[in-house]
Each structure stands twice: as C-alpha cells, then as structure tokens.
Amino acid sequence: MEELKKLAKELLENKTVAAVIGYQQVDDKRTKPIIVTTPEDASKLVFNEYCLNNLAVYLTKARIKNLAKQNGTTLKLGIVAKPCDIHAIVALIQESQLKREDVYIIGMNCHGVVKDYGMDFSGETLATKCTPCDSHKPLYSDSNLGEVKDTPKVSDEVLEKIQAVEKMSHKERFEYFKKEFDKCIKCYACRAACPLCYCQRCITDKTVPRWVESSPHSRGNFSWNVVRAFHLSGRCIGCGECERACPMDIPLSLLNRRMTETAKQAFAYVSGRSLDTPTLVGSYDVKDSDELFM
C-alpha cells in the first residue's frame, strides 16, 4: 500500500504521468474511483479486496484523456489496474483506443475482490468474475506491486447457471431471457460501465435508419440485449461491470460469459491477453470451422 502511494507520488512529481486513476477508501468495506493529479493527493490511493471497479473505462473518456494534455505536450495517464483490468487495457490498445505509451500501468497482484461494496471479503462473497480467473499477476505493466495470496476456491457460479440455462428447451430459454430482458429500462448503465463500449454514438442511438428500437418493450429490449452481447462477442474481457451496474439485475454475465466460451472453444481465443495477436473479430483463419454452413 505504501509503495503504491510512493510510486504514484514519484510519477506525479517527475511528470511521468499527468494523473493517476486509482481507488480511494470510503469506509472499511468500500472504495471509490479517484483521479489523482497532484503529488499530495497520492496518499489517498489504496488497493485492497474492495477495489472492484474496472478503472480502464475511464481511459476512453475524452475528459480524462484531456488531462494528459499539458502545455502542448502529452503526458502518460497512470492507472492502478488489477490483472483483469489490464486485459481491458490490452483490448483497448488493440482496438486503437489507446496507445501503449500513453498509459502507465501500475499493475497490482490480485487474489480476488468482493461481489459488491459492504460485504466482507471471503470465499462466499468473492466476485463471480474472480472464480474462474487465472490472472493473478499482471500480463503487462510498467510497475508491478502488491503481494501474491491464494484466491479462495469457490465454484464457478456463472458457468453453472449457463449450464442450467442450456439444459432448458428453446422455448423455455426464450421465455427466461425475455423475462429477464423485460426488466430492462434502457438506462444503458451497462454500456457506460463497460470499458469496451467506447463508441461515440452507440448503434442504439442511430435513428436513420433505426437499428435498435429504443423504447422499452419486449422487442426493443430483446434487440438491445442481443446487439450488446453480440458486439462484445470475442471482445468482452469478463470484468462484469455491466452486470454490477445494471439497476434491474439482468444477468448480463450469462450472455457475456457464454460468448467468451464460444470464442475459446471455436477459435481458441481469449480477449485482452496479448498485444501481439490480432483481435479475434477483425481477423480470420482460412481454417476456421465451416460446420455452420451448408
């Protein structure tokens, strides 16, 4: 913890970074994102099991990007990132939203975070995104901090739910998702929280022609959720922020995770793991399976 504060202070002092995006303690079971721009404020930075936001989402916001521009030169943006958050940063770099040299990654070793604020960190309260996670150390970082501890072992809840859904008949599944999607109030919190939903104008806001019906009825809700899940297929890094942000508790991770599994099984691809491989969507292999096609 102290080394994080020290490093951030140094980075800000010697003008390596214009700001550090990190976490600030609110109470003992709660943190909130903070953007530190002065060396003095660096002492506010913390990192623990309650730092569950994926801060990579801030890197795509123009307001934050502008912080880096100082007196005609561009400094780096520092970011306190868990290994899983770094996957998002990698994906953003691959998708030209960010340049590797524009960001200073303070990569934290991680052994899991809580499901939501206000809970004690334990096996039972381990966030669902952490149960199948195998990234406990950063793949890419400029500094690597924090101790390595064992992650509590708990069953993969999301995968079990997916398997349960897959056991249903087509009709039951359609009903199930219709019911879930019907809760949608089109607040687009899922979109705002997602680090990979960086479009300047979302497809659902395009009106000529109208791509996705935006009024809240089953059909529009269905389209929106299909399109959202499809646009993240092969790209989602599984941070689960969409589901956490959803005020109506729509189980979005059931969709995202399912498509992540497809990417893994059909193309042996996991998003955000390597800067050197081309993105799954946007590349092709002549040898991709042809099974689907008559």
Binding site: Q97, K206, P209
Partner: protein
C-alpha cells in the same frame, strides 16, 4: 418522390407464370408509385422508349423495372434512365424471371411473390441516393507473372502493341515447361526450336523488362493502379558483368550434390549453373545450399576462372517496386508427384506404382527429357537404372487424374496426346521395341489430334489397352505391370523394361499463396478461378488481373498461347483509355461518429481504409478516424457490417435501403 414501375412479360418467359397485368395493377397503389405499366418486352426499343416517355411525361424521380436478373439488363435500363434524365442509381430491378417465373409453377403464388419483389424494390429505390461514377487514372504497364510459353506470348503481344511489360519468372531462365519438352504434338516439331526464338525476342525487346529468378512479394492497389513489390533473389552473379561464357559452370568442382531440376532429377548440376544451354538470360546462378564456399569459406574456383569478376558471393536479395496497370498471371502447372503423399492424408499417393522406389518408373516430363536430343541421354532411349535400351515400355494414363479416391477428379486433358506422342517417339527410335498404353478413354479433341492418336496405333503399332493398372512389381530387373484389359475382360500382365506414368497436371505448389498475394480466388485444387466460366474465361474476378495458361486449368500449348494473347488483349483494352470508370459502390465514413476502433481497417480485404487525423481549429489532433480510399474500395461492405456504431455506409447498398427492403417483406 415519384416512382415508375415497369413490368416486363419477357415474351412468355415471365408472363406465363406471373400475371403481369395484375402485378402492375397492384403496384399502382404502392405509396410513392406514380405510374405502373406492363409490356411484352421492356428491354426492346419500344419498351425502353415507353420508360423514357413515362419518365419525361410524369417527371419521375426513380424507376423500378420488374424483369430479368439485374445481371442481365440492369445496364440497359440504367442507360434508358440516364437518357431520360434520371441518375442511373435511381433504377432498381425486381428479378421476376430468374427468381420468380422460371422457378415457380403456381401462377397465383408466383404473382403474389412478384408483387412482393416489386414492392421491396420500390421501397429500396425510395432510399437510393443519386451517385456518380468514379474515374481513376490508368498506369499503362503490364506485369506478367510466369515466363513459360503463356507468359512469353502475353508479354510479347502487349509489348508489341507499344506498352511496357515487366515479366517476372521465379526460375533463373524463362521458357517454363515447354523448354523441357522434346517434340510437340500433333506435328512433332521440336519444342525448343520453336520456343527459343521467342525467348530471345523477349530478352531483346525494348519494351520488356525481364526479371528472372524473381518472385512477386506484394501486390497493392487496384485495377489500373497496382503497386507491385518484386523480390529479386540473389544470383550471386553480377548480371552487368557476366558475359555468359559458362566457364564457372564447367570448372565448378561440385559435381554430384544437386539434382538438375531442368532434367527432372535425371542428372546432376554444379553449384554454379545455367539451367539449360539455351537459357534466357544466359547468366548462371550460384546455389547457396550446395556451394562449397558457403559451407567452408573456401574453393572460389568460379572466382578464379571468371575473367570479368562477376562472381559476387555477398550479393543480397533486393526488393523492386513497379507501378503496374494490369496483371497477367501465367504461373503454369506442375506434375503430381505420386511418390509423396500429401500431408495428413493416407489415401492419396500411388504406392502400388512404386514411383520413386523403382528407378525405371518415370513420369511424363522425365520421359520428355529422356526423349529429348538435348537431354541427359542425348535423345537415346536409355532407362535410368542401368542405361540399357528399354525394349518394352508401358505407358499408364490418368495417374492422379480422373481418380476421386486417390487423386483429383478432373481430367488433365493433355496426357492422352502426349502419351501417344511418347509412344510414337519411342517407336520411331526403337523399331523393335514394344509400347503399351493403358487408358481409360482416349480424349483427343483438337485439330489433327484424333488423327495423331490413330497414327500412333495404326502406323506405329502402339498397343492400346483399355483398363487400369493395379500394381507394378519388380522382378529380376523387369517391371511386372498387372492390370486389366476391360475390352477382353481379362487380367493382363506385362513384363516391361520401363514404365511411364502420365501423372496429373496440378496447380503450382505456392499457387494459393500467390492468389492470396494478388487477391484472386482459386478452386479447391489451387487453379485460379475465371470471372465467368463461359463469358469471362480470361478475367479473374479481381479487376485488372487476367489469367493465361495452365494456372487456370490443365491446358496444352496452343490453348495456353491463345489464352495468353487474349489476356494481352484484355490488358490493352484497359489501356485504351486514360481514365477508368467504375461503379460508385464504395464505403464512406461518418466522420462525426467514427470512434476510430479501425475494425473496418482490419476487415478490409483491399487495405482501402486509412487512418485520418481529425484536427481542431488549432491544428491539434483530437481524434483518429477511419477514411476510405475510394480508389481502393471495391464495395464489398464487410466494413459496414463490422462497424459497431454504424458509422460507415456502402453507397448503393446502404443500410437504410436494406432495412426498407426488410420492412417491405
């Protein structure tokens, strides 16, 4: 918007199953339709005049023609519309013939469908934007890939018309397979005698830039405006100094390390070599893999004997870029080597024929070298194993061709003819020899071809046996050929001294890689696809890329030459004007909303999407977005479907137009 609907009966073709008057009547009431008419032949002059008159009279903005496929008469109706003052892209075709009347029987159902199709077209045309055709300049230079007879012919034709040609050949000399042949069917004239003058003509032609021992590495750009990168492999001989005296090749001490590929591995060649005496250019190449100098740093015999100091061991590959307007692909074929089984497959290969195991079982090209006066045996028939004159030769046709289970389904086309030629050449020289040919069918379509085969059978006494060979075994220096004579329904065994396999002609090893480099489609065998099997056999589907010779499918010499001249003519058609017109079906980026994820750039098959910097009024870059180079874009629309925020649209097929069609379902 005022739309005119014109329903064509196409004589009886549409009218028989689609009630055209009912269609035109129903379409009258479609929102936006001003006039709806039907007529016997819309594409005829009166039909077109009817359209023009209606456009002028009713001041129509757009028209829909319910007729045959847009691939047939779209151009006709667009022209009519232009004549009457409408933008050609405000014309839509509803395909009532190929997609409706011809494929359905029930008049009511077909008429209902026809109405639906017209309605969809009406909805689309309402959203169509007027577009103007794009003009691009043309570079009047041709790249010919492959210096075999097809490439030579194409290069000479284009050059003789006064246009510059770059001829690229991957081997050290041009000439291709034809230079390896002894005599040619059906005239039995000497292959080299007719070929070498053309090779020399290429070499001396002021308009032809000959690049041998070179390969095409990269092709960028589009019709009329290609930029081609060519790798000039290091010969290790300074071409400007070498006189072609050949002293280095005779003095090279490396004698038996490398097979002579020109002699089809029936002889050896030194480390510094000219593929064959008539090679063009007559400049040797040093084979790094066997040269003693590259292994030990010693020897340098060639350096010592060369009076011109032309040997250059440290010469490196160089990359040359050329600006090209048209590309003629003439990369030819190779023979199926039945010895080697293609990887991962157990069923292919012909182990039962023992090729590669038995020295006297040879393929067609090896036999050409044995028969050739300039070959390793100086034209005397000697078998490779012991140099004895074979008294009995068995020729087996269709080895690998027309064989679904072990080889390829297609017919290699030339084997019937060259096998007859082989047998004939053999009989002419070895009068007491016996020649047997196992065949499936004799396919001898062509001028004087059938007569040629008959001559082999009737005058030269070649014995033709209709049937397949099951196995070749070796016994006491003889090859026991077991087969079946299907006409006599008898198993047959021949103890031959030598066996010649007419193996299949297949695509070059790296045919598919080159296709991907150039960007042309190929079939499952690796042969390049023509744009249309009947009406566009010379063009590839990529604009400005033409095909010549056996790279497209197995062919004999006259056919390859004809195709080469046709490809040359196609290139010259392109050069006939200074500017090219092309359809304005290109993608366009909405700069306001593009988030710069560049997925469009990743998926674009043509590299047409570029990065554009958006600057504010102070000249500071505030974002990078995608930009479509209209010249490069071919209008596939893959980018539009990929764009997550729908900030890129394809003119002529934009999303609104598609949605309108869906909505009209």
């Amino acid at each position: 918007m005022k739309i005119g609907v014109f329903i064509c009966h196409c004589g009886e073709n549409i009218g028989r199953t689609v009630d055209c008057p009912r269609v035109s009547k129903a379409c009258q009431w479609l929102p936006g339709v001003e006039v709806s008419l039907d007529y016997k032949y819309m594409c005829s002059d009166p039909g077109q005049n009817m359209i023009k008159d209606e456009i002028r009279k009713k001041k129509l903005d757009a028209i829909v023609v319910g007729s045959c496929s847009p691939h047939m008469h779209e151009k006709t109706f667009r022209k009519a519309a232009v004549d009457a003052g409408i933008n050609p892209f405000l014309v839509e075709i509803a395909n009532l013939r190929e997609h409706c009347s011809w494929v359905h029987d029930d008049i009511d159902a077909a008429t209902d469908k026809a109405i639906d199709l017209v309605r969809m077209a009406v909805e689309k045309v309402k959203r169509n934007q007027p577009l103007t055709t794009i003009e691009v300049p043309v570079t009047k230079r041709t790249l010919v890939i492959g210096g075999g007879i097809a490439g030579i012919q194409a290069a000479l034709d284009v050059a003789n018309a006064g246009y510059e040609v770059v001829l690229v050949e991957k081997e050290p000399s041009i000439g291709g397979h034809m230079s390896q042949l002894s005599e040619t069917f059906p005239t039995l004239d000497c292959s080299q005698c007719i070929l070498t003058p053309r090779m020399v003509e290429v070499y001396q032609h002021p308009k032809i830039k000959l690049m041998t021992y070179s390969e095409v590495e990269k092709v960028e750009g589009f019709i009329g405006n290609f930029t081609v990168t060519i790798r000039k492999k290091a010969r290790h001989i300074d071409e400007s100094k070498c006189t072609g005296c050949g002293l280095c090749t005779t003095k090279c001490p490396v004698k038996k390390k490398a097979f002579n590929s020109f002699e089809e591995n029936l002889a050896y060649r030194p480390a510094v070599y000219v593929p064959f005496p008539q090679a063009v250019p007559n400049i040797p190449v040093i084979d790094e893999t066997v040269c003693t100098y590259y292994k030990t740093g010693k020897c340098q015999m060639c350096v010592k004997v060369c009076g011109r100091e032309a040997i250059s061991f440290d010469q490196q590959d160089t990359l040359v870029t050329e600006e090209i307007g048209a590309i003629i692909v003439a990369t030819g074929y190779k023979l199926y080597n039945i010895e080697k089984k293609p990887e991962g497959s157990m069923i292919k290969g012909y182990g039962e024929y023992g090729y590669g195991k038995y020295k006297d079982v040879v393929d067609g090209l090896q036999f050409e070298r044995i028969a050739s006066a300039s070959g390793p045996t100086s034209g005397e028939f000697k078998r490779p194993s012991d140099g004895k004159e074979p008294k009995k030769i068995v020729f087996i046709q269709c080895v690998g061709s027309r064989d679904d289970s072990k080889g390829f389904s297609y017919c290699s086309k030339i084997c019937c003819m060259y096998t007859a030629k082989h047998a004939m050449l053999y009989k002419h020289k070895v009068h007491d020899g016996e020649a047997y040919v196992f065949y499936m069918d004799i396919r001898s379509g062509g001028k004087m071809y059938e007569e040629f085969v008959r001559r082999a059978i009737e005058e030269d006494g070649v014995k033709y046996i209709r049937g397949r060979v099951s196995k070749i075994t070796e016994k006491n220096g003889k090859y026991i050929v077991k087969g079946e004579d299907t006409l006599a329904s008898m198993p047959i065994e021949i103890d031959a001294d030598m066996v010649v396999l007419a193996t299949a002609m297949i695509a070059q090893t790296e045919a598919s890689e080159l296709a991907q480099t150039i960007g042309i489609p190929y079939d499952k065998y690796g042969f390049y696809n023509e744009a249309h099997p009947k009406l566009r056999p010379i063009e590839s589907t990529t604009g400005g890329v033409f095909l010549a010779g056996a790279c497209q499918s197995p062919k004999d010499i006259p056919e390859s030459v004809a195709m080469a001249s046709a490809a040359a003519a196609k290139a010259m058609v392109l050069f006939g004007s200074d500017k090219l017109e092309r359809e304005p079906v290109v993608a366009k980026v909405n700069e306001l909303f593009c988030a710069g994820c560049f997925l469009c750039k990743k998926v674009c098959p043509y590299g047409a999407v570029e990065v554009k910097e958006m600057k504010d009024r102070n000249g500071v870059v505030y974002k990078e977005i995608a930009y479509v180079n209209e010249g490069l874009c071919q209008g596939c629309g893959t980018c539009t479907a990929s764009c997550p925020s729908k900030s890129i649209e394809l003119a002529g097929f934009n999303n609104e137009e598609v949605f309108a069609q869906i909505a009209a379902l």
